[in-house]
């Protein structure tokens, strides 16, 4: 085929035009692309930059270190210790099951934990670490570390956990922490994000719970760069959290430890208060428990053991338990009567063994009666009839008001769980609570600390401190917060006649220093150390007329839970009161026998700031006391007290 050049030129010309046309179209399209590029990259750059940052940056919370708790001398009570756990990164492990099998040869792995780990593995991306074992010992961690080459993907990790080195001594005061539960969260209006960190520990009970606000601290945060699958590539920056505030309690851990040991296996409570400034030096509820069990997550068996114990180890009897104060209340009745002027200090009342009130016989504990009794004798020998008589003359409302003045029926503001208010009954109170009129017999009952009257051991200690000083001594538990001294509780004068107070104190002195006093056997020897006190024995059952006729059954012959509570309150030294002590032994029998010796021992321990010399005890008791001191010393050694350097 032949083509002439004109033909060729014509077709070439058309092709050139069309090529230029297409080229123009392409240029226009490219212009469009450039415009689009400009729109995205220049006009909307800020918006997209922000989106890119959102993609890239994740914020991770850093749990703050919880504030530590110390005793008044700086001994650690609650600290943060490293806790070890073993994690595996499935991606690095290769055959995870094989690694787990190797690991279980080294240390015991909980099958339940493993099952949970396997489910977690199926759900999460393979580069995220999965916890295989938690809260394991240093030894197991070392074994894993040594065998690391054979265990690909396995890493021991360190976190912080709460540890209570004093074990049971502070279980009721400080309480314990535990992981945040769904229930905890449901109670909060707007939970802090830090609470959503898995297994974050918060205070559950006691001081830990009450001062959670300052103990927790503020969470820090770190910004990390993550890739599209969520793997952390690097840390961009971090803002450390603010650790919780350290706290110093007024408690002397040494004394606390002694008191706890002295209470032993009794179901009992003891409180030691500094009369001068209201500092609680020791506050023990017995039996106690190891709070560390709860931090770890208590086993069902352990928990059942605690809840099914008749002696109720979980309840804090010092502030939560309320008891009829029995004869320890007599000082209040006496003061009310003296202040009202219904009886003079020297006036006597005739005690034939009972008093007829509204046609009913109110018995004195001593069937034969005490004969003529004045104030001093009424306290010393704990005559009941004297108090029936003066209380009825004084009236219940006056007595109740006096009790309130001395801290009974008042809810003391302490950072502990379930602080009880107790009951100081009035006519209006009975009307309100029972819808019944007040009877004069009720007054008789209250006058000797029975009937409606209820007080906690803490309140009894406060009452005693106030009697000893005449000031409204207020209990204080927190000494310093973050190094700042908290206001003390020395208190203002109560406005009760010093003369009357002196008479009452004198009566209390006689109780434990007069040969006929109910607590003479629990006296303290040594000038300037003498102790004043008052025994109490409160009934928890009614004694029927028939029983009284046949002879009151002795405590030893009753089942434990129907025996009388034994109480003793005291302060010392008599001339210059330093400490007030209240002891309640649940169902302990007589106050003089069960409670007074404990209170005396505790008082001596406090006064001497350590083991007292045997000379402080009556001669006849010294060999027995020596044996007791040695026994207690041995028992206290088993406790970790003395590990003064923190382990963290």
């Amino acid at each position: 085929m032949k083509r002439n050049s004109k033909d060729t030129d014509a077709s070439h010309g058309r092709m050139t035009r069309r090529a230029l046309f297409l080229g123009g179209l392409q240029l226009a399209f490219a212009g469009g692309l450039a415009a689009r590029m400009r729109y995205l990259q220049v006009d909307q750059a800020d918006e997209f930059r922000l989106l890119a940052e959102e993609n890239r940056i994740n914020i991770r919370l850093l749990p703050p270190a919880r504030g530590q708790i110390f005793d008044r001398n700086g001994l650690i009570i609650a600290q943060n210790s490293p806790s070890y756990r073993i994690t595996v990164v499935p991606e690095d492990a290769g055959d995870v099951e094989e690694v787990i099998a190797k690991l279980s040869n080294l240390l015991p792995l909980d099958p339940e934990d493993l099952e949970r780990a396997r489910t977690e593995m199926r759900r999460s991306p393979p580069f995220l670490p999965i916890t295989l074992a938690d809260r394991i010992g240093w030894e197991d961690i070392s074994k894993v570390a040594v065998n690391a080459p054979a265990l690909p993907g396995v890493t021991p990790e360190v976190g912080l956990t709460r540890v209570y080195p004093q074990l049971g001594d502070f279980a009721h005061v400080v309480g314990y922490v535990g992981p945040v539960s769904d229930y905890d969260l449901s109670k909060m209006e707007d939970p802090e994000p830090v609470l959503l960190i898995p297994r974050f520990q918060i205070g559950k009970v006691g001081f830990e719970a009450k001062r959670e606000d300052v103990l927790r601290g503020k969470a820090g945060a770190k910004r990390v760069e993550v890739n599209a699958t969520g793997r952390v590539m690097r840390e961009l920056d971090r803002r450390e959290g603010i650790s919780g505030a350290d706290m110093q309690l007024t408690i002397d851990a040494g004394l606390q430890n002694y008191v706890q040991a002295r209470l032993g296996r009794e179901s009992a409570a003891a409180v030691v208060i500094d009369c001068e400034d209201g500092d609680i030096r020791a506050i023990c509820s017995s039996p106690s428990f190891d709070p560390n069990l709860f931090v770890r997550g208590i086993s069902v068996a352990d928990y059942r053991m605690l809840t099914e114990d008749n002696y109720r180890p979980l309840s804090n009897k010092t502030v939560q338990g309320t008891y009829p104060p029995g004869s320890t209340f007599k000082m209040i009745t006496a003061l009310a009567a003296l202040e009202e002027g219904v009886v003079g200090p020297e006036e006597t009342v005739w005690c034939p063994g009972y008093l007829k009130v509204a046609g009913r016989r109110f018995h004195c504990w001593k069937r034969a009666g005490h004969g003529h009794v004045d104030l001093n004798a009424s306290l010393k020998r704990s005559c009941d009839v004297y108090y029936y008589d003066v209380a009825i003359k004084t009236g219940i409302d006056k007595i109740s008001a006096m009790a309130n003045k001395f801290g009974l029926g008042i809810k003391h503001d302490l950072p502990m769980s379930a602080v009880a208010q107790g009951i100081t009954p009035t006519k209006e109170w009975k009307e309100r609570s029972y819808g019944k009129d007040w009877l004069v017999g009720d007054t008789a009952n209250v006058s000797i600390g029975q009937g409606f009257m209820l007080a906690s051991p803490l309140q009894l200690a406060v009452m005693t401190a106030r009697i000893a000083t005449g000031r409204s001594v207020t209990p204080r538990l927190l000494k310093t917060l973050d190094g700042v001294e908290q206001p003390n509780g020395a208190g203002e004068p109560l406005g009760v006649s010093e003369n009357n107070l002196r008479m009452v104190r004198k009566g209390m002195y006689s109780v434990s220093n007069d040969r006929r006093g109910t607590a003479y056997r629990s006296r303290i020897i040594g000038d300037g150390m003498r102790m004043a006190g008052k025994t109490g024995t409160s009934q928890v059952r009614n004694i029927t007329a028939a029983e009284r006729a046949a002879g009151v059954i002795r405590n030893e012959d009753l089942p434990w839970e129907r025996r009388d509570h034994a109480l003793f309150v005291s302060f010392a030294p008599y001339d210059n009161p330093k400490y007030a002590v209240a002891v309640v032994v649940e169902h302990g029998g007589g106050g003089s026998k069960a409670a007074a010796p404990i209170a005396r021992d505790v008082m001596l321990q406090a006064l001497y700031d350590g083991t007292p010399p045997l000379e402080a005890y009556p001669k006849a008791d010294r060999s027995r006391i020596k044996a007791q001191q040695e026994r207690l010393e041995r028992e206290r050694v088993k406790r970790p007290l003395g590990s003064r350097s923190s382990r963290a």
């Binding site: 085929m1 032949k2 083509r3 050049s5 033909d7 060729t8 014509a10 077709s11 070439h12 058309r14 092709m15 050139t16 069309r18 090529a19 230029l20 297409l22 080229g23 392409q26 240029l27 399209f29 490219a30 692309l33 450039a34 689009r36 590029m37 400009r38 995205l40 990259q41 220049v42 909307q44 750059a45 918006e47 997209f48 930059r49 989106l51 890119a52 940052e53 993609n55 890239r56 760069e225 993550v226 890739n227 599209a228 699958t229 590539m233």
Partner: protein, 383 residues
């Protein structure tokens, strides 16, 4: 005897041919490939492996192929175009029978040292055949229906085979490039108007077919269209690619975040960051300036080709150069539209930049033909 052969004596011969290479075009191609190496180095996190090293090797091989192709006279390529076309059709059938399934589509044949993507070869073979066809066809018959239907059939056969793989992107490219060559050859406007009208009709038919028994596209293709139209609908699912790609581009800003500082690509938020989405990395790290510069270089390549095509009086040469230029243009235009959210995500790489063997080899081979046309252009006696 054609016009070209008539003047054959005035074309350079022997090593003098090298002097007549289109050096500007060659330089532009090397520059674009260099940009590609740079970006592959960046997305690998500052490493020559796994992408830069094989890419450089392929580029060297491609340059060799280009020189060899360029040295061979252009009339040889015209003469073998039918063979090339039939060969590529054979490969397409072979891939249908023995091909490796990659990314849910049958696209490769493993030929030992590399994976061959026959559809890449087809693009060039089709352009060559159409150019040869219109070189052979007398000009006055160009717009006659019968002579229009024949090239349409030649276009549709490989298109159908590619669509079956399925590779929507390449089949659109084939049709567009083929249509482009026909348009340049001088086929009457009316035909194109008719095809465009029919195309609009077809698109509406495709949408009408959705969910019926005679559904014309696969479900995933419909979903791609959906997410193209509204990426925010499913930002973590199917719309993820487009959304992340736009974020990467946009966050680059005017001058970019700096070489190897692009967080979107470095942290894997970008899908296919070393192949189809490599432009987003460039735009993220070098910003509007970088993206625009690459677009500018691409357009220069197109302009060089158009100038070269107009300069030659040989019909086959002009048509094949322009056809290759259109194919090249379609590559980067579709790819850029896609990553900028202007077109649905169809698997079209960024030419000479994206990681990939077949496309680069075939393109360099094609530019070898452009060079050959340039070298063997009849010149007025140059002495």
């Amino acid at each position: 005897m054609s016009y070209l052969e008539y003047h054959a004596k005035s074309t350079p011969s022997g090593f003098r041919k090298i002097l007549y290479l289109n050096w500007g075009l060659l330089l532009l191609l090397i520059t674009v490939s260099g940009v590609g190496f740079l970006m592959l180095y960046s997305v690998a996190g500052g490493s020559f492996s796994p992408w830069v090293e094989p890419q450089v090797k392929r580029f060297a091989l491609g340059l060799g192929v280009m020189f060899v192709v360029a040295m061979i006279p252009i009339w040889f390529w015209r003469n073998v175009s039918v063979l090339a076309y039939l060969g590529s059709l054979g490969l397409l059938v072979a891939v249908e029978l023995f091909g490796t399934v990659g990314m849910g589509a049958q696209r490769w044949i493993d030929i030992g040292f590399m994976r061959l993507q026959p559809s890449e070869v087809t693009k060039i073979a089709l352009v060559m055949l159409l150019a040869a066809y219109y070189d052979w066809l007398p000009a006055e018959k160009t717009s006659r229906p019968l002579w229009v239907l024949l090239p349409v059939a030649l276009i549709l056969i490989p298109t159908a085979l590619v669509l079956k793989q399925p590779d929507l992107g390449t089949s659109i490219l084939l049709m567009a490039a083929g249509g482009g060559v026909m348009f340049l050859a001088g086929v009457h406007w009316a035909y194109f108007a008719a095809v465009i009208a029919a195309g609009v009709g077809l698109v509406s038919a495709v949408f009408q077919s959705r969910g019926t028994e005679w559904q014309l596209l696969k479900d995933y293709q419909f979903r791609r269209i959906d997410t193209f139209l509204d990426p925010s609908q499913d930002p973590l699912g199917a719309g993820y690619h487009i959304t992340q790609s736009k974020i990467a581009l946009g966050s680059g800003g005017w001058s970019g975040r700096g070489f190897m500082q692009g967080t979107q690509s470095r942290l894997n938020f970008l899908p296919e960051k070393h192949t189809d989405f490599i432009f987003t990395t460039l735009a993220e790290e070098f910003g509007f300036i970088g993206g625009f510069t690459l677009l500018f270089i691409y357009m220069l390549i197109i302009l060089f080709c158009i100038a070269s095509a107009i300069a030659t009086k040989d019909r086959f040469s002009s048509l094949v150069i322009l056809g290759i230029a259109i194919t090249f243009f379609l590559f980067f235009a579709v790819n850029m539209s896609m990553v900028m959210g202007l077109a649905p995500v169809v698997g079209v790489p960024l030419p000479m930049v994206s990681y990939g063997g077949s496309a680069m080899l075939v393109l360099l081979g094609a530019f070898g033909i452009v060079q050959s046309a340039n070298i063997h252009r009849p010149r007025q006696s140059s002495r």
